[in-house]
């Protein structure tokens, strides 16, 4: 499914539109705020790629694995064309995620996403969170045996 580009006036509004849609689990609307050739880096997942399909995969995986996912944004900081969002992602695991089998554990992870915006569209995303915290909450014991409870 595709959505029309989100028309906004400021970089903050563009990012806010992305975050609002993500919080509603509306992945199609979220990625409509991004340039088709958006550069995506998700440090904890080792992702360095381009294209909205990458953003689609990252968001869809989260929403699928944590159907009650709640995104609580604490700060949105605009520094020129760069907008940094600090938020907490919370949810209960219902499917495998990042190699971790579903043990119905609750997740709460503080994250920081840095966006670059040009001409009303997100052109770069860099996501930061601690995968050790994520695995700890999902009851993973060893990095080499993520799928073993």
């Amino acid at each position: 499914m595709t959505s029309s580009p989100v028309l906004t006036d400021t970089p903050t509004q563009t990012v806010q539109a992305f975050l609002d849609a993500f919080a509603r689990h509306d992945v199609a609307t979220a990625i409509a705020a991004a340039d088709p050739r958006v550069a995506v880096t998700v440090h904890p997942l080792g992702i360095h790629a381009t294209g909205t399909e990458v953003v689609d995969d990252v968001l869809t995986d989260l929403v699928r694995a944590f159907p009650d996912l709640m995104i609580s944004v604490s700060r949105v900081i605009a520094t020129g064309d760069v907008v940094t969002a600090l938020f907490k992602a919370e949810g209960t695991q219902a499917a495998g995620y990042a190699g971790a089998i579903n043990q119905e554990k609750h997740l709460d992870i503080d994250q920081a996403w840095r966006f670059t915006v040009a001409d009303g569209l997100i052109t770069e995303i860099s996501a930061y969170w601690c995968q050790a915290q994520l695995y700890r909450r999902l009851a993973v014991k060893r990095y080499a045996e993520i799928a073993i409870a």
């Binding site: 440090h43 760069v82 840095r114 930061y128 601690c130 995968q131 700890r136 080499a144």
Partner: protein
């Protein structure tokens, strides 16, 4: 002792304070880093989380009581600790965001990680706030601690 500036706070001067902070960090000048911070500057490193049987230690508090010992301990464990600042963006309200890679070779225990002489390099995102007096009054940083653990040969999540 904190360093008081008479310059007005602008996006440029706030970014300058943060650049100086990282220059001092690279020089292992923890006192100098602290001097760039307000007396009661807030400190938050969300990835710092040590789970014990009856309590969890977190990297939250103040620069002078939590940040300074953490920086000192990190430099002691990684004597060749260095960093590369990739981007610094700022605004006239004193917000400064910096993308920084931190790296070092482990010589002493760090948290639960025993020293094995291994090297790590991990991207960090720092969010600062610089007050009207050009002193840093808030430091927050995010990174993937699992990446550091695995690079250092530590295979346990805890």
């Amino acid at each position: 002792m904190t360093e008081v500036s008479t310059l007005p706070r602008t996006a440029e001067s706030a970014a300058g304070v943060v650049t100086e902070f990282f220059d001092r960090y690279r020089a292992h000048d923890v006192e100098g880093m602290t001097d760039l911070c307000a007396m009661n500057a807030a400190f938050s490193y969300p990835p710092v989380e040590l789970w014990g049987k009856q309590r969890v230690l977190r990297g939250d508090g103040k620069v002078r009581t939590i940040g300074k010992p953490l920086w000192t301990g990190l430099i002691a464990s990684f004597p060749n600790l260095s960093l590369a600042v990739h981007t610094v963006t700022s605004n006239d309200d004193g917000d400064v965001v910096a993308e920084v890679d931190i790296e070092g070779t482990q010589q002493l225990a760090w948290g639960l990680i025993a020293p094995a002489g291994r090297h790590y390099r991990e991207p960090h995102l720092f969010i600062f706030h610089v007050g009207p007096d050009l002193l840093i009054d808030s430091i927050t940083a995010y990174w993937n601690d699992a990446g550091i653990s695995q690079q250092l040969g530590h295979t346990e999540v805890d």
